[in-house]
Amino acid sequence: MAWLSRPLTVIGLVILAHGCYSAHEHTVLSSTSVQHPTSPSATSLPLDIYIETIAATLLICLGLVLGSGTPEPIQWHTWAGKIEREGDSTSSDADKELRSNPFNALEARSGFINISKLRNDFVKYQQLGK
């Protein structure tokens, strides 16, 4: 449905512009024609301009809503479950937000990192690889 979004928005904007133009034209014309100043129909806008404006606005709204991406989960367990299931494997460069459990830092504990042990382990790991 995403491909519909842009054409719909553009068509809506064109129709809205047309509605505005019609309204402007109508007021200009009715103010210059002073033959029937008493008739109320000359000062109020015709019904079709109202309908055109409302329809155009709805069309633009529909186009914008269709064009927006899928919303992020707002429930904690759904969001957390998504992180657990998908991990950061699906995150592309487009959305750079962190896609892993933010509480993993509490189990990793970077402030208490034991660097000399990690270094020795890495040396062993490299020797195993060779």
Binding site: W76, H77, T78, A80, G81, K82, I83, E84, R85, E86, G87, D88, S89, T90, S91, D93, K96, L98, R99, S100, N101, F103, N104, A105, L106, E107, A108, R109, S110, G111, F112, I113, N114, I115, S116, K117, L118, R119, D121, F122, V123, Y125
Partner: protein
């Protein structure tokens, strides 16, 4: 892959750390050596974000781990230029580099002395306190390390990381009751952390299995609650379901043997039918997760391969038991 650069360094495997360290020279080349405060120059330099400095720190750690000391010093220099050598966090990183480059115990002792000198001037310096505790632990002085950590928690009692470290230290000594207490304190600070709930469940399960202190049934009931809470906070949580299956298996095993303890005054174990239902739900979910992971479902690839393998083995073991 920026996400790898931003992940806390200690969660990375050796291969990932190497991958990060290899990106370091390129990152250093792409980013300017110093950021000017003048608005005119900032127009021409790449934008500076908080992520930049997290990445520098992670690169520093990765380079130290892989033994690339020259690049590590370059990263450290950038951090010093930006934040000044007297910044608490930067001082801790400088100490970390010295620790990494120390080749024998006497050099480590010297680093420890430096930490103590800094702490004598300002004993609420959080990063340095943490480094001192970590260094004591690394040097094998576990009891001193625990003592220092308890003192640290006296003035900084809302530090969940420190509570978790304390729990880990106690656990390494086999002091389950103390470890559980520290872990509960961490949970008070971060009540939504589903991995902490699962971890507490695991520690309780270990305590029940060791069975030297307290009532094992008591621990099992509490552990069951913890795993359930972890699952409640996170759908499809492999670790939570795995633990839940383990606990319920154990409880059902004990029940079938008729080992109902008489002194059931402090704890309330759920009905056997509820436990059975939980067990079935956990088995079903674990099966689902393993199947979808194996089927290379793109939306189910976030699990750790080792954890999935463990779940698979455990599932096949328990199904064999049922057949028998």
């Amino acid at each position: 892959m920026p996400s790898l650069l931003l992940r806390p360094h200690a969660t990375l495997s050796h291969a990932e750390a190497l991958q990060v360290a290899q990106q370091a020279p390129e990152f250093l080349r792409k980013n300017p050596a110093s950021y000017s405060a003048s608005p005119f120059f900032s127009l021409f330099s790449p934008p500076e974000s908080s992520n930049t400095w997290t990445i520098y720190e992670n690169l520093l750690l990765a380079c130290l781990r892989t033994g690339d000391n020259t690049t590590a010093h370059q990263c450290l220099e950038r951090l010093v230029v930006r934040f000044g050598a007297s910044d608490e966090r930067v001082t801790a990183l400088q100490g970390l580099v010295k620790e990494a480059e120390a080749t024998n115990d006497s050099e480590l002792e010297k680093v420890l002395k430096e930490y103590e000198e800094i702490l004598a001037k300002d004993n609420t310096n959080v990063p340095i306190s943490k480094r001192r505790i970590a260094l004591l632990r690394a040097m094998g002085k576990t009891s001193e390390s625990i003592e220092a950590l308890v003192q640290f928690l006296d003035f900084s009692s809302t530090d969940a990381e420190a509570w978790m470290e304390l729990a880990d230290l106690y656990l390494s000594q086999g002091l389950y009751a103390q470890a559980i207490y520290a872990q509960e304190e961490a949970l008070i600070i971060a009540p939504n952390a589903w991995n902490l709930h699962a971890r507490l469940g695991e520690v309780l399960l270990m305590a029940a299995e060791s069975g030297n202190e307290g009532n094992p049934q008591n621990y099992l009931a509490e552990s069951l609650k913890r795993f359930c809470r972890g699952i409640e906070l996170s759908d499809d949580y492999l670790r939570g379901y795995y633990g839940l299956k383990r606990v319920t298996d154990k409880l059902l095993d004990a029940n079938s043997k008729g080992k109902k303890s008489s002194e059931s005054d402090e704890f309330t174990l759920p009905e056997t039918s509820t436990i059975e239902k939980l067990n079935q739900a956990a088995t079903k979910k674990l099966g689902d997760i393993v199947r979808k992971y194996d089927a290379k479902d793109p939306l189910w690839q976030g699990y750790d391969a080792g954890e999935v393998a463990a779940a698979r083995t455990y599932l096949s073991e328990s199904s064999q038991k049922v057949v028998r």
